[in-house]
Amino acid sequence: MSDKSTIPFGPQHPVLPEPIHLKLVVEDEKVVEAYPAFGFVHRGLETLAQKKDFNQMVYVVERVCGICSCMHGQDYCEAIEELMGVQVPVRAEYLRTIWAELHRIHSHLLWLGLFADAFGFENLFMQTWKIREKIMDILEATSGNRVIISVNIVGGVRKDINSEQAKWILKELDDVERQLKDINDVVMNNYTVKQRTVGIGVLTKEEAYELGATGPMAKGSGVDLDLRTTGYAAYKYLDFEPIVEKTGDSYARNLVRMKEIFQSIDLIRQALGKMPEGEISVPVKGNPPAGEVISRLEQSRGEVVYYIKSNGTKFLDRLRIRTPTFANIPALLKILPGSYLQDVPVLILTIDPCISCTER
């Protein structure tokens, strides 16, 4: 009869540059229990809402996470705009959508590189990040920054995309799409990748729903939830269907993210083609009235929820951010027991954990 041992995973681990600690109880090579610990880099950004005015908070929430910073800013601005009854111009809605989808692409590509790295596929890691550089170049050319692009303001956006830039973006996206098609076969049909992902870390549809999973974690298990279909920003003007896979294993979660990259490219093409001329922001005066609002949108990792309570002054009473990684922790704790120790790094990567978001 084998004995149980407890193995510490992290907080610093080669597979994940961010600190997370898991206490893994193993029997032989099999994980039987997993207990997480966070908080190594907690920043208390929610509390800053009582010290920075509501306009300054746009820049604070962008720093919740570098990878989806643009969407944090967008969600926060949409919450304040709803509270203040501000309608942003249609062109601003399109621009927000374009930048959000660019962020989704670079987030998924970053994840794909880290995922490849997790099982020693260095070449794929390099290729993926090389492709991602094109997206970062687009972000830099259109906003002035590569990662935290700070384009969202309450009332719209502060940068525009002109027709010359639009043509160049379309050309770059063609390049990205072609290169992605080249590596798609390697990612999804490679023997090693399949060995490490097919049938591993299975989360059923019922479990995903019951555990509140979100994003590719839920969509990979057949849960058809994608907040973009609710039609916020410019999504109401675009044609798309949520990408859903049914097998619920690590492979399905990969597949969702790969397909979402192509979907995002298509959404940007549509948005650039349909974007009307016009203003990119409206002036916003005064402070948000007293009230409470919940705003949600679909980040690359899933649904992000902003709760805001204002008191009529320029400072908010409460800002609460429920990030997608936080929602996916219970699902991670569900898929780890029963897996082999060698699969733990890969399984953690398949939820695309963002510790920065969790430690907001």
Partner: protein, 125 residues
């Protein structure tokens, strides 16, 4: 959406949450707010894309955990426990104050109370 939350008595909390669970709602999150000398905890559920909220007003002691109904609530309830000092009864998994905070972290850093730091080698009560 503008929050339209319905207040429920603490004694009825679990039966109300059970109704959402049995009605096919998924658990989205719990949000804790500081009031004068009390806490307000908002429970958010969703069915499809529609949200519904209920809330309780509590002094922060002996709040019934809903993690036996929605097991995923254990993460946010452990977080609220550590950041606000709210005590939950019947947490499915209690991380013992080591989920978001470390041994040398401030106690209840988001609550409107005096923050006490552990002295070197000492233990918090």
């Amino acid at each position: 959406m503008i929050v339209n939350s319905r207040e429920v008595e603490i004694g009825n909390l679990k039966s109300e949450v059970k109704k959402y669970h049995d009605g096919g709602y998924r658990f989205v999150t719990e949000t804790c707010l500081n009031l004068e000398d009390k806490f307000k905890i908002i429970y958010t559920f969703a069915i499809g894309y529609d949200l519904e909220n209920i809330h309780i007003i509590t002094d922060g002691k002996n709040v019934p955990s809903v993690s036996d109904i929605y097991s995923c609530a254990l993460a946010v309830e452990n977080e609220i426990k550590e950041l606000f000092g709210v005590e939950f009864d019947g947490l499915a998994v209690d991380f013992g104050g080591n989920f978001m905070l470390g041994e040398s972290s401030p106690i209840s850093p988001q609550a409107d109370i005096e923050i006490i730091r552990r002295e070197k080698g000492g233990k918090n009560e």
